[in-house]
Symmetry: D5
Subunit: 146 residues, 10 copies
């Protein structure tokens, strides 16, 4: 059993039970983004949370160990084609140098970590059309001089 | 005179005057991300803001028209090498499908616009090391059925 | 059951029943382009239309849920090889900057949406050889300044 | 003097004279898309139209011959990064197979020509936001069996 | 049953019957290049010829419909590795600009069609070593000005 | 002085003198394709022909040595974008396996040489529209078994 | 049965019989490089040699016909990753222009054929560490002027 | 002064003096391949040989230091287009796995070094057409187990 | 049975027995990096060590021969996406020229071998957060002049 | 003045003064790898160190500010061609999964930082040939669960 198999099982069970990602996350006491990324096989879960997912979604017992494994994070498309994902890529292209300038101005030389990192996605009501608000929250890592 | 020339002039003037991007943005009454992206040539400014930038940074008069032009937005590297920019790319790769799942759960089929879009970058104090907080705020666009 | 499976079932059923895409579209009260793209797995259908497709094409009941899912839109070839598809790519290459210039002249800085978007394909009689007329109709989205 | 030089001269003269592409096109009695593509160096003009462009925009005399040359049509980016151009690419990716299916249904095996081809771009008023309407109009070319 | 399946069946039957491509072509009254390309799945056949192929090669009846389908023409390798195919690629690279120059000199701005197109391959005896003679014969398509 | 410089000089002189490629070729007693490819820097000329080109086009004396040099044959685009050149690429993709099959049937295992190679381009009158006829004529090279 | 199947059978039989490539080659009276390349599916064998391979390795009878087929020579990696193969690629990169210069100096304009071609690999004893000696032996092919 | 400048100076001087690569190599007491690769900037020379090249070709004095520098070995084309260089690439593709098999059979696991490496290019007379013989001679490097 | 199959068996057995890579390495008397790379199919083992692995992990007997085979070392992604692997790629990009400069300063022209090579990975305690220490230890190979 | 200009000035001055990277590093009290990477433009220096470099190498005063800038870290070649740099790439390919396995075994899910990172390069004497020892020392960053 591999991450891809567990992902399949989770999606099937989630549909059958009529659960949403937010609901699953809330039941295991974690955030929706992290929980979804674990279920899709792009993050590893601590044993306690893995066991809760197995119980909640009635997965086979061995799925817990698989959820705890460190995933080999592979994405096939250097430039993603799906429009919803591509827009993130476009933002990286259009605003990449801007992000870099502002991080350097506020913190000095270094980067925003994508590992010591949290992420939130919210719906913001707006009379002209509701908005998606995505928050990237990563530790600043300064370059070391030695 | 092209966008690249104006960008050079702005960076030189900014250094000479000891200004930061936040300060420039605040003086023209706009956000730092938008202002920086206009100065770097990746967005167009309305005439009023372009004129304010020219005045503030003592650019040649014709720079205003250039700042108002719609830019051809080109980035050379399909996968960026700079570590600060790459981390955004990595986030897109690791969390792309997760973002898609959660947008669809909250809104239905559609995307977060990268055009009707705002972006903020903040420094959040944290005893374990301060954090970079980037907020992506784009209008939800539902797919049209016709 | 996935979008690819439903696509196979639809194509088989369509052949067996001797139906055309236009006919299918007309029977569910939608346009041919949208209907075809839903059947090929590149758009999601609202429940009512998904159910009508299932009934019309005598698909298994669970196909309706699959037709309603938000698709992960993947195309494998960055540059398509099929001549009929390549010609669209060629038009994008040859006329891309022209389209950009004219949109900016008519609307200001922004883009034609590919999400809030409709498309029509017609046959136009012409004594020198009939012509294909493809209409792209997308909402203009102005860049936001903030 | 090459196409790129003439393009530069045209853009400068156009700005200086405050002309739009539609206006230029109308003065030489051709469509805006074709006229713009000639000025940007992606199409060749017949002598009469080239001379009219030279006169209208007060270009150097030798520019006429350059406008008449058959261009080597090069685009550098296999996948365009500019958002306005990318959306055409996205439409090709999302709807490519659909276009192919409908052309084959209406005409049989063959393609829409990108050579014996016309293109129009219009602004359509819409209370929910005006729309860009792009019309691709190419001769159907049937595959030959021999 | 798909084009790839029919291709397999044809190759197996052709071997079993000891037929050559020329012989097959001659028996269905078409040229060898066109016939071979239909059998390999890169062209569609009119019903009459498809039926003749099915009869001649004793294919299952449903193969006729598959042979009549408009193929999705995919080649996997942007630069082909097989030496016999690569040489055509090399000729395109070495002589591409030359071909363009001479077509423009003889016809004006336009291209040789690859759709309204015929192709022949012959063996020419030569005392220094026989030669392969490939004839590309495509309709000239002039660019349209509108 | 390099091949690119001589190419520029030749194109300028050719325009000034109102010569065509066919005329130049005929005056030096060679074929138009070979002559054009030499002038564009993709083939080397024997001294006698190089001197004739220099005399005919009134090039600087040192151009003869440059025309005799063995060129480093570089093309920048793995997949060419220019429509006239792309059609040759498309033919290679669509008919590549067919060409291979027919060469093997007529000659056994081996290839058509692109070195011991001649090429001709003709205009063929046709009431439905004149046709471009390109002839590739290369020595068959059998694989050696040793 | 395809080339890949026969390759598998040969490797299994070779292991079971404890044969080396040199030994196999010697028993069919051919060179080791050619023999190995035939067994790996990258060259075709004449009937006599194919039959000898079938007998020697006790392959199924139909393997002989497969060994005689002209292979479609595909390699998946444009830049090979395996270190032993990569070193050949590196030599091509580092010494490519040198090889070209020396061939042109010794022979004039043309190439070393990779078709009318033999190759040998030997072990040369050396007190500082034995050496691999690879000999490429290809017919010189002069460019044709026509 | 950089390697590329010295390469230009060497080629100019070589032409002016009517020297060949073999002659230059012989005068500095080294092999033609190594000497040519040093002159083209793809290898570094020991001081003694660099000084001899400077004297022989009457280069400026500072060229000696440049010839002694360790070059950054860059080649632009992952797949080379020049036919003479491409054939080496093709040999690597067609015979790569064969080379690997035979090295492993003769030496065990390891590679042929491209660093502790010599290379020779000879002309071999042959009544059917002279042949290019390229000898690659590299130290076998066994993989280390630790 | 192939390397990929043995890798699967080893990972399953390792989990079932609750062994770590360090423990396995220690039991066969080799280093953890080498042992892991053999188990993952990227190095070959001498017979003695292969037999020890088979015994320790209770693999089928034929796995020993597979572990002794010289692997075809393939990695699919030219630029790796997994963050842990990508960081090594990033170090190569950021420090590649630096590594080159320092090797040349300390040793002269040449490289660090990746074949006559050892590698160690250690955990170093640090109050600010423990550190990963990776040691690359390869023989210096000087370029040969001949 | 940009990073590339300062790099040029440093290399020229270093040669003129006969300094090595180790010597420069020692004089500014930093490590050789960090110092070299700053001089080559791939790291930023704190003001004190930048001033020391300017004094030591007698650079123009404004070079100090440039050395302090946060660099845009670009490398052009996704797969490096230079053999000394390529070997690092090869190590990443061959041992990437191994490094990942061992980091995960020793630390759990996370990565070695390339930002909070030090690097050392040493020469280790060895009777069979001296060895290059490269030490990568990066903070372990655990993935955050939130």
């Amino acid at each position: 059993m591999k991450k891809a198999d567990v992902k399949e099982l989770i999606i099937t069970s989630k549909k059958a039970k009529g659960l949403g990602w937010e609901e699953i996350a809330s039941k295991i006491g974690m955030s929706p983004v992290w929980t979804t990324s674990v279920c899709l096989g792009m993050n590893s879960a601590p044993k306690e949370k893995a066991d809760m997912l197995v119980a909640l979604l009635e997965l086979p017992a061995e799925a817990s160990a698989v959820l705890q494994e460190c995933p080999m994070k592979i994405w096939e498309q250097a430039v993603p084609t799906d429009p919803a994902v591509y827009r993130i890529y476009e933002i990286m292209g259009v605003y990449g140098e801007t992000i870099k300038e502002i991080i350097h101005e506020k913190f000095g030389d270094g980067i925003m970590s994508a590992i010591d990192y949290e992420m939130y996605i919210e719906r913001k009501a707006d009379p002209k059309g509701d908005r998606v608000v995505v928050t990237l929250d990563g530790k600043f890592l300064p370059y070391r001089a030695w």
